[in-house]
Subunit: 506 residues, 2 copies
C-alpha cells in the first residue's frame, strides 16, 4: 500500500495499531468511553453485534442442553473468601458496595447505612452460584445442573481499553455441576468446542484450542482451556475460556450429594464464558484502514442500499427502486433469519453516505443512480474488497445472488485470517531466534516480527516468568495435538513433551 | 370451592394470599430468595418467562423505531445530584460502591482503594444516559434519539418480595430525546400503549391506562403514565410506566441543540420501563390453588406430553408415540414461533408427573397410556380448567387443534381477569362507602371487600395523604376517559374534574 493512499481511518494499522483500533471504533460508532473510569457506553451499532452473538450462542447453549437463569449481582465478601485461590485472583479488582443509602451531611450527599458485611459486585459468579447449587443438590438424581447466565460483571481495570479490557463488561457464564469427574471433563471440552465453532463459523476467527499453563489458569480452576485468536498486529487475544473446576468450588460451597452407592460426595463443576471482548477481537482481526469489517453471519445489517439522486427529477423513481429492492432482499432468509437491509435515503451526497457504511463495515453496499435505473442494474460493492471496486448486476438478480456473495465474503474473511495466522506462526527451536522473533529491530518502523512461536517448554513456571519479564511474551496455550512431538526446551535444555504457543497478548 | 378439596398449593388463595403467592413460586420453581438480602435467584422456569417477555417486547420496541444500547452500571454521585427531585427520590435506596479492591488486614479481607467519588449502582439511568446524550446531541439533526437498554438495576428494599419488590431486578428502560415537547409527549403515550397492548395480548392482563397523581410521579418527571392491573386479592399492581420528563433531565445533563431556527435549546426527553415485576403480576393474576397458570402466548413450554407406562411391556411403543406427537407439535408455528413441547419420560408415576406440570402452569397436558394408544387417542387437559377435566382426542388431530386450544385458553384467561376486575370495580360517591369498601368487616374471615374505587377527587395531595394513612389506599391512576364526567369530591365537597381510580396496591 502506498503511503499516500487516502484511508477513512487515521492512523493506518501499520502506523499505530492501538490508535487505529480506537479510531475504527469511533468511525464505526460502536462504543465510547464513559465518564465512569473504565466503563464503556456500547452504542447501538456495537450492541447490535452483541445481540447477534447472544442469539447465536444462546441457541448453541440450548441445543447442548443448557438453560438460562439469573443470580445476584452482589456477592457477600465471605462467599468470595471460601475458595482461597479464587479470592486471591480477584481481590485486587473488586468493586465493593459498603453502604445502602445516601444522606445529606453539611449540605453534601454522603454514603450512609453501612452494611454489616461488604458486598462485592460480581467479577464472576462461581461462589454465588455455588451457594445456590448447594441448596438444590441433594441426590445424584439432581445432577447434572446445566445453567447459563447472561450478565454484566465488574473487574476494576487500571488500564482499560474499549471492549478488550473494561471495568464493566457483558458476558455469559455457564456453570454446571456433575456427578462424576468424567462428565464434568466432557462438559468442559464440549463448551470449548462450541466456542471454537462459533468463532470460526460466525466470527470468521480461526482460533486455536488448548490448555492454559498453570500461571494463566482461572483462579480456583483445575484446568483452564481457551480459544486464542491472532489479530492483525500478530498479538494473541484469549477469546473464550472453559474451566474444569474439579471439586474445588463444590467443596468451598458445599455442593454435596448422595451418590448412587449411598455415599455423600462433592459434585464436579465447570464454568465457561465469552464476553464483549469478542467484539474487540472481531475488530482487530477483520477491520482495515477504511474502518470496521463485519463478517456477514454476525452482521445485523447485511446490505445497505444507497440511492444516488443528483437531481430532484427522477429522485422518486430511484428511491422507489431502492425500497423495492430492499423489500425483495428482506424476504430472503440468510442462515435462518431474514436479511438485514437499510436504505439510506438521507439528503446527503452519495459519496458521503457510501463512506459512512464502509466505515461501519456493512458487508454489501448497493448504489442505485439514474443511469443504473435506466439500465436496470445496480452497483454492488463488497466490504472485503477495495472501496472503489464495484460489480454492475441486473437489479432482478440481486436478491438471489446476495446470500451467495455474503457467504463468499464470510469465507474470504476466514481464509484471510487463517492465512495471516499461519504466515505469522513459526516453529522456533533456539532461545536466540525466539528472542529475535519477539524483538522489533527498529522501534520507529518495526519490521514484521512476532506472532505465534511454536516452541518447546519444560513445564517450568520460572521459565514463563523470565520470558514474560524479558519480552512480555506468555504461553497462550498448550495446543491440542493428535500426536504430541517431544523435544527439548530451548530455554533450559530440558525435555519437553510438546511445543506450546507463545505470543504477546491483549 | 369446598374447604376440604385437596389443592396442590397450601395455603389456598382465600386463606392467605401473600403466603399462597410465595408457595406458587416455590411449587412452580420460578425463583427463590438468595443469601443476599433482597436479591433473588431467578430459576430456569422463571427466567424462561422473562426471556419470552424480552423477545416480544424487544420486537415491539424495534418496530416502533428503537434500538438497543448499553450504559454503565455505575453512576457518579455528582450525576445523580444534578436533578434535585430525582436524587431525593432515590437517595434512600442506593447501593454505594466506595472501594475498588480488597486487602488483607489482621488476617481478614477488608475494602481498600477508596474511590475519590462514590459510585451509585444504577437505580435507573436517566442521569448517566443523559450525560451521553449531552455529548451526542449538537443539532436538531441529531434528534430524536430512540434507545432502549436491557439491564439490571438496584433499589435497596427493606421489605422485599419475590419479583414484585427486590433489591436487584431486571428491566428494560427506554430513553428518548426529542426536538419538541409534542414529539416527546407522543413518544411517552406511544410506549404506554405498547405496554398496554403487550400486557393484554401476551400476558392476558387487562390493564388500565392513566396518569399518576403528583405524589406518585417518578422523581424528576413532569408526567408519569402507567398501566395498572388488578390481581386476585383485588389489589393494584403498577405493571409499567412511561414518563414525560419535559426538559428537567436535559437541563440537568445539558442536552442542548441548535434548533432549526438557530437557537440553542434543551431537548425534551422521555423514559419508560417494565421489569421482572411483570412476572409477579402474572402470577398474582392468573394462578390458582394448584399453582402457576401461564398464558399460552408468553409460555416457553406450551405442551407437555406425559407417557403413562404402568408396565415395561408396551412402554417403548407409548414413548415412541409421545415423541412422534411431540415432533409433529414442534413443527407447528404458534404466533410466529414453533410450539414449545416437553416429553416427560421420567420413571415416575403418571400422577406425580402430571401434578408437577400442573403446578408449573403448562397450558396443555397430554397423557398417552396403553389404552389411549390402542384407541389412537390421547387425554388432553387444559390448565385453565379443573385438574381432572380431560378431553380424549384422536392423536392425529392434536397438532392441528393445539393452536386453537391455546388461543382459547389465552382468551379465557383474559376474559376471566377482565370479569374479575369489572366485578370488583365500583363507582363510589360517599366517604362512608369508600371507607367501608376498603375496610374488612372481619379480619379473621374477611368478606369480599376492596378493589378499584372510581371516586371523585378535588386534586389535593392532603386528601391523598389522609386516605393513605387511614386505609393504605392510593390513587392508582387518573384514567384516560373520552368524556370526563365532572362531579364532587366526597372527601372535601369540592369540585372534581373526573373520577380517579383508588386501590390498595403492591
Amino acid at each position: 500500500m502506498s503511503d499516500k493512499q487516502q484511508t477513512a481511518v487515521t492512523p493506518r494499522r501499520d502506523e499505530d495499531f492501538p490508535e487505529w483500533y480506537q479510531q475504527v471504533i469511533k468511525a464505526s460508532d460502536l462504543a465510547e468511553n464513559s465518564e465512569v473510569r473504565g466503563c464503556m457506553v456500547i452504542k447501538p451499532w456495537g450492541y447490535a453485534l452483541w445481540e447477534r452473538m447472544q442469539r447465536v450462542l444462546d441457541g448453541m447453549f440450548k441445543a447442548t442442553g443448557h438453560r438460562n437463569a439469573y443470580f445476584p449481582l452482589f456477592i457477600p465478601l465471605s462467599y468470595l473468601e471460601k475458595e482461597a485461590a479464587h479470592v486471591e485472583g480477584f481481590a485486587k479488582e473488586c468493586a465493593v458496595v459498603t453502604h445502602h443509602r445516601l444522606e445529606a451531611k453539611d449540605g453534601k450527599l454522603v454514603p450512609a447505612g453501612q452494611l454489616s458485611e461488604p458486598l462485592v459486585v460480581r467479577p464472576t459468579s462461581e461462589t454465588i452460584i455455588g451457594a445456590a447449587y448447594a441448596r438444590w443438590v441433594k441426590s445424584w438424581r439432581d445432577l447434572p445442573i446445566l445453567l447459563n447466565q447472561w450478565a454484566n460483571v465488574v473487574r476494576w481495570e487500571m488500564r482499560p481499553r474499549l471492549f478488550l479490557r473494561t471495568a464493566e463488561f457483558l458476558w455469559q457464564e455457564g456453570h454446571t455441576a456433575h456427578e462424576t469427574r468424567e462428565e464434568a471433563e466432557v462438559e468442559t471440552m464440549k463448551m470449548l468446542r462450541v466456542y471454537e465453532t462459533f468463532a470460526r463459523d460466525f466470527l470468521a476467527l480461526p482460533v486455536l484450542c488448548g490448555e492454559k499453563s498453570e500461571s494463566e489458569r482461572f483462579p480456583g480452576a483445575v484446568q483452564t482451556y481457551c480459544i486464542e485468536a491472532m489479530v492483525q498486529d500478530r498479538k494473541a487475544i484469549q477469546a473464550g475460556t472453559s474451566h474444569f473446576l474439579g471439586q474445588n468450588f463444590s467443596k468451598a460451597s458445599g455442593i454435596q450429594f448422595q451418590s448412587r452407592a449411598g455415599q455423600l460426595e462433592h459434585a464436579w463443576t465447570t464454568s465457561w464464558g465469552v464476553s464483549t471482548r469478542l467484539i474487540g477481537t472481531l475488530i482487530m482481526m477483520h477491520s482495515d484502514d477504511d474502518g470496521l469489517v463485519v463478517p456477514p453471519r454476525i452482521a445485523d445489517t447485511h446490505v445497505v442500499i444507497v440511492p444516488i439522486t443528483p437531481k430532484e427529477d427522477g429522485k422518486a423513481a430511484i428511491i422507489e427502486a431502492a425500497e423495492s429492492l430492499a423489500a425483495s432482499l428482506r424476504a430472503i432468509s440468510y442462515h435462518g433469519a431474514p436479511l438485514g437491509v437499510e436504505v439510506d435515503n438521507r439528503d446527503l451526497g452519495g459519496g458521503v453516505k457510501n463512506w459512512e457504511w464502509i466505515k461501519k463495515g456493512v458487508p454489501i453496499r448497493i448504489e442505485i443512480g439514474p443511469r443504473d435505473l435506466a439500465q436496470g442494474t445496480a452497483a454492488v460493492a463488497r466490504r472485503d474488497r477495495g472501496p472503489k471496486e464495484k460489480a454492475f448486476l441486473p437489479l432482478a438478480e440481486i436478491p438471489a445472488t446476495a446470500p451467495q456473495i455474503l457467504d463468499e465474503i464470510q469465507s474470504a474473511l476466514l481464509e484471510r485470517a487463517t492465512t495471516f495466522r499461519d504466515a505469522n506462526t513459526r516453529q522456533i527451536d533456539t532461545k536466540e531466534e525466539f528472542y529475535q522473533f519477539f524483538t522489533p529491530s527498529n522501534a520507529a518502523k518495526p519490521e514484521i516480527h512476532g506472532g505465534f512461536a511454536l516452541t518447546h517448554w519444560n513445564g517450568s513456571a520460572t521459565v514463563e516468568e523470565q520470558i514474560k519479564t524479558d519480552l512480555k511474551v506468555t504461553i497462550r496455550c498448550i495446543p491440542f495435538v493428535d500426536a504430541p512431538e517431544a523435544g527439548t526446551c530451548p530455554f533450559t535444555g530440558e525435555p519437553s513433551r510438546q511445543r506450546v504457543i507463545w505470543a504477546k497478548s491483549y
